[in-house]
C-alpha cells in the first residue's frame, strides 16, 4: 500500500509534469495504470484501502493545482474507470492478466482504449469544454486527448507492473551469465538507439524512418526474454521518447502544436501492439512446445511399459528361477536341521546359494525399475556396450523362452556416445524383442539374432540388429516407422515410431531393411561423444 501510494503520487507527478500546452490534461496518465494494477492484484474486500491510499496521493499531488471539487471528481472518476475496466476484463475472461496470449494482448488493448473513451465524456475537462469554460480546444479534441493519455498510461505501465509483481525473484539465482550478458546487451542497445532517435536535434524529424530502428532491440527483448521484458523495454522507450520530446528533441516536435503530441501518443500503442503480440506468440509457442515435450515423455514411458508388458511372462519366469532355488534350498536346510544331521559345510553352501539367488532376483527387479521409472531425460557420455548388455539382460528370459540364440559382438573399445541411457536402452531392447518375436514362425534351429556395433567414420557409432525372421513387409518398409503400424497381433505399434524419434533427438538415425540372406536388419547410428 505504501508502494502504491508513493507510486501513484510519482505517476501523478509525471502526468502533471508533462501536459498538453494550454490544457490540464496530461500527455500520459500513468497513475490510472497503477490504480488498475492495484485493483487487479488485491481482493475486492480490500479495494476500499486502495481507494483510500489513492485518494490521499491524488489529493497530495493535485491539491495545489485544481480546486477541491475537481480533485474529488477525479478520484471518483479514476476509481470508476479502473473498476469498470476490471469488470470488463473479467467478463472478457482474460483474468488474471499474464500477457502471454494473443487474446489477452488484443483484449487489453481494446479495453484500454474503449473504456477510457467512454469515461472521457464524464471528466471535468470535457465537461468544461462542453459547457464552454475551456474554449482553447474543441470537445472532440479533448475527448481524444483524455482517451489517448489514459490508454497510453494503461498500455505502457500496467503490463510492466502486473508482470513484475508476479515475477518470482528466486528465479534470478539460476540465471546464467550468458543470459545476464544478453539482457544487458538488450538494455544497452535500447538505450543507445533510444538516445539516437529521441534525443537528436530536430533534423531527425525529417527522416522519420529512423524511428523504426527502435524496433530491433524491442523485438530482441520480446523474442528472448518474454512479455515482462517486452513491457519493460516498451516502458523504457516510452520514457525516453517522452523526455526527448519534452526537451524539444526527436521526431515528435515537428510541429509544436497538439498534433505532435497526439502523434507521440499514437506512437506508443503502435510499438506496444506488435512487440507485445510477438512476445505473446512466442510465449504461446513455448507453452505448446513444453506440452508436446511432456506428451513425448509420457508416450516414451507408455512404450516402455508396453515393452515390459510384452516381456512380463518372461520376467515372471526369470524371477521364478531364483525363487525356486531359494525355496528348495531353505526347505532342504530345514530338513537337514530337523534330522539333526548338521553338515556345517553343506549348510554354508545352501546359505550362500540363497543369498546369491536373492541378489540375482533383486538385480532383475532393479533393472526393471530403472527401466520403468519416470524421470527427466539425462544426457551423458555412455558406452554402447553397456546399453546392449543391459538390453540383453532385460530380455534374457524372453530370448531364452523364444528359443532364440543371440550372437552379440560389441567391442568395449568403441568410442562413447552421448545420450540418455534409459531411452537408448528402450530402443535397443525394443529392436531385440521385435527380432525375437518375428522368428516364432521359423524353425527352432533358424532362430538366431545377431547384435553388433561398430564405428562408422570418426564421429558415429552404429548398432545393428539382424534377425532371421520373415523380414519386413514388402513395399511397406517405411510404414513400419509410422505410429500405430504393427505387424504383430498384439502391441501398440509405437515401438519403432518412438525409437526413431528418440534416435533422431540424439542426432542419429534409425532405419530398417531386408537382409538379402533373409530376415530383417535394423541399424541405428549415434554421434560419438565429444568430451
Amino acid at each position: 500500500m505504501m508502494l502504491l501510494g508513493t507510486g501513484y503520487y510519482l505517476a501523478a507527478f509525471v502526468g502533471i509534469g508533462f501536459r498538453f500546452q494550454h490544457s490540464s490534461i496530461g500527455v500520459v496518465w500513468p497513475a490510472n495504470a497503477l490504480l488498475l494494477s492495484a485493483l487487479l492484484l488485491s481482493p475486492r474486500k480490500k479495494w476500499w484501502m486502495v481507494l483510500a491510499v489513492v485518494a490521499l496521493s491524488h489529493t497530495l499531488a493535485m491539491g495545489d493545482l485544481v480546486p477541491g471539487w475537481r480533485v474529488a471528481w477525479q478520484i471518483v472518476g479514476n476509481f470508476t474507470l479502473t473498476a469498470a475496466m476490471v469488470e470488463v476484463l473479467r467478463r472478457c475472461d482474460v483474468l488474471p492478466l499474464h500477457f502471454g496470449s494473443r487474446r489477452q494482448i488484443l483484449v487489453f488493448m481494446a479495453v484500454s482504449f474503449l473504456v477510457p473513451a467512454v469515461y472521457a465524456f464524464f471528466t471535468p475537462s470535457v465537461a468544461r469544454t462542453l459547457l464552454g469554460f475551456e474554449s482553447v480546444s474543441s470537445p472532440t479534441a479533448t475527448i481524444l486527448r483524455v482517451t489517448l493519455s489514459n490508454a497510453a498510461g494503461l498500455l505502457l505501465v500496467a503490463p510492466a507492473v502486473l508482470l513484475a509483481s508476479r515475477y518470482d525473484l528466486r528465479g534470478l539465482a539460476d540465471v546464467s551469465v550468458a543470459r545476464v550478458l544478453e539482457g544487458t546487451a538488450v538494455a544497452v542497445s535500447l538505450l543507445l538507439v533510444g538516445l539516437l532517435v529521441f534525443f537528436s536535434g530536430s533534423d531527425i524529424a525529417h527522416s522519420p524512418s529512423v524511428v523504426i530502428w527502435i524496433f530491433p532491440p524491442l523485438l530482441w527483448a520480446a523474442v528472448q526474454f518474454g512479455p515482462l521484458a517486452a513491457s519493460l523495454a516498451i516502458l523504457g522507450v516510452a520514457g525516453l521518447s517522452m523526455l526527448g520530446t519534452a526537451s524539444q528533441l526527436g521526431p515528435f516536435i515537428l510541429d509544436r502544436s497538439a498534433q505532435g503530441i497526439v502523434s507521440l501518443q499514437l506512437f506508443w500503442p503502435g510499438i506496444w501492439l506488435p512487440v507485445m503480440l510477438l512476445a505473446a506468440v512466442i510465449h504461446e509457442w513455448e507453452l505448446t512446445e513444453n506440452a508436446l515435450e511432456e506428451q513425448r515423455k509420457q508416450l516414451n514411458h507408455v512404450s516402455r511399459v508396453t515393452t515390459v508388458g510384452e516381456l512380463s511372462g518372461a520376467l515372471a519366469h526369470e524371477l521364478r528361477q531364483p525363487l525356486t532355488s531359494i525355496l528348495a534350498n531353505s526347505q532342504a536346510a530345514m530338513r537337514l536341521l530337523s534330522e539333526q544331521r548338521i553338515d556345517v559345510a553343506e549348510l554354508r553352501n545352501i546359505m550362500a546359494d540363497i543369498a546369491q539367488q536373492d541378489r540375482h532376483a533383486a538385480g532383475v527387479i532393479a533393472r526393471l525399475r530403472a527401466f520403468l521409472t519416470k524421470r527427466e531425460p539425462r544426457c551423458e557420455s555412455l558406452s554402447v556396450e553397456g546399453v546392449v548388455r543391459d538390453a540383453l539382460a532385460l530380455s534374457r528370459s524372453a530370448i531364452d523362452l523364444a528359443g532364440v540364440e543371440v550372437e552379440s559382438w560389441v567391442p568395449e573399445t568403441l568410442p562413447q556416445v552421448r545420450g540418455d541411457r534409459i531411452q537408448l536402452l528402450q530402443v535397443v531392447l525394443n529392436l531385440i524383442v521385435n527380432g525375437c518375436e518375428s522368428m516364432h514362425v521359423v524353425p527352432d534351429r533358424d532362430r538366431r539374432l545377431r547384435v553388433w556395433a561398430m564405428s562408422r567414420g570418426e564421429d558415429q557409432v552404429q548398432i545393428t540388429i539382424a534377425d532371421r525372421g520373415p523380414g519386413l513387409p514388402a513395399g511397406r518398409e517405411r510404414m513400419l516407422f509410422e505410429p500405430f503400424f504393427t505387424t504383430k497381433d498384439h502391441g501398440l505399434g509405437l515401438g519403432l515410431a518412438i525409437g526413431r524419434s528418440i534416435i533422431a533427438a540424439h542426432g542419429g538415425r534409425l532405419w530398417g531393411e531386408n537382409n538379402p540372406a533373409g530376415g530383417a536388419i535394423f541399424h541405428l547410428t549415434l554421434p560419438v561423444s565429444q568430451s
Binding site: Q321, L323, T324, N329, A333, D444
Partner: protein, 138 residues
Amino acid sequence: MTPLTGALIAIVDDEEGVRVALQRLCHAYGAETLGFPSVAQLLAALADRRPDCVIVDAHIPGPNGPELREKLRARAGTIPTIVITGRDDDAAEVRALAAGARACLRKPVDADILLDAIHAAISADGAGGSTTSFSATD
C-alpha cells in the same frame, strides 16, 4: 513327510541354481540324485543308470529342443517323469511334455507338493496313466 530313501532321482534344469537346490532338497529327504543341465545329457546317461524318477524343466532350450522333447516323451512311458515350468502361459511345449508326464508343477515348487508327486510317480510306476496337477502355490 515320507522320505525318499533309496530312490534315484534325476533332475534336468539348465539353471544351475535351480538344479542344485532341487538336488539338495531330494537329497535331504534321503534320495540319491543326478543333475543334468540338458536333456541330451540325461538321455546319454540313461544308458548307464535308470533313475526311478525324472524331474525336468519344461523349457528345453537350443535348436534341437523339439527333437529332445520327443525323445524324452518317448522315454516318459518307461521312466516316471515330473515336469516343472516357470512359465505363466501353458505353452504348447509344456502341454506336449505334460501329456506324457505323471505331474506338471509350477515353479517355485513347494517341498510337500514335489515330494508327494515323486512318491505318487514312483509308486504308480508301471501302472501307467498320468495325472497333471498344478501346484497350489500359484
